[in-house]
Assembly symmetry: C2
Homo-oligomer: 137 residues x 2
DNA sequence: TTCTTTATTGAGAATGAGTCTCATAAGAGT
DNA sequence: ACTCTTATGAGACTCATTCTCAATAAAGAA
């Protein structure tokens, strides 16, 4: 689990400042768990009487995403969702078209296969987006 | 290759009308080839002096996508791109972060593996989004 | 601690892809 | 050609996200 001290180190090592707003957004997203959009994070913080602006939530989430603290998830409805990357638990997502549920999955073989395909084309894999849209059986 | 007659059949079988605007958008996207956003399609048609509105391009692309004539591609920059689905040539995309190039790929094993993973979780695969973001070696 | 420099914040305006409205036009069946 | 209904055009509108800019506050220096 990433501590606030780690947040501080990561931010400062990249020349960013360690501000209360950034701590709040980061901790809130971690506390909420799962996948949330900026509006949800903003509302949650607001409901707790926290003094933070919408713009700052968007900006902070962006900073966190750029530094690998947070992962961006676009499901196709025009609203970006984010999840805190606690440890190195890489996974992809299954989105249930019936319920909207987001299920995480990971498959070693799949990961290897992707690397192989990219290499075959003469490239290096930087990141990937893999979403399986499913329905209950 | 899908003919205009096929476009007519597909549209009408779903209760949609076979209009000149729909033909134009469909043929333009096919002629352009590759992946394009609605604005590009609109501009292209406009530059040829065609009388079509922006709204109609968006509406038509949506109708075509709903009927499997066109495939939507979201690369994460907030602009939806589309490609004509000529035949049954399913493929996924590699996006080069250096050049912005979009390369198509297909891997049989990958397809099977996805099905397997979904089944394992008790779901049925409806569709998937699989994008590999790469850099030149 | 105080000073300086410079990034960050808040509030609201601005942006822009995509959608909606509604009066008019035009497919398609009869 | 007639009728019913869907499609279109033009522009207004949405709404997530970004930008502006004056005020604020990190963080290092003195």
């Amino acid at each position: 689990m990433k501590t606030n001290t780690q947040l501080k180190q990561i931010l400062q090592s990249e020349g960013f400042r360690y501000t209360p707003q950034r701590q709040m957004v980061w901790n809130e997203l971690r506390k909420m768990g799962g996948h949330h959009d900026c509006e949800e994070i903003y509302d949650e913080l607001k409901s707790k009487g926290t003094r933070v602006s919408r713009a700052t939530v968007y900006r902070t989430i962006d900073v966190l995403a750029r530094n690998g603290m947070v992962r961006k998830l676009e499901v196709g409805d025009g609203i970006a969702r984010y999840e805190a990357k606690e440890d190195e638990d890489h996974h992809d997502h299954m989105i249930c078209l019936d319920t909207g549920d987001i299920i995480e999955f990971y498959d070693e073989e799949l990961e290897r296969l992707q690397e192989k395909i990219v290499e075959k084309h003469g490239y290096t894999l930087v990141k990937h987006v893999h979403q399986l849209f499913v329905k209950k059986k």
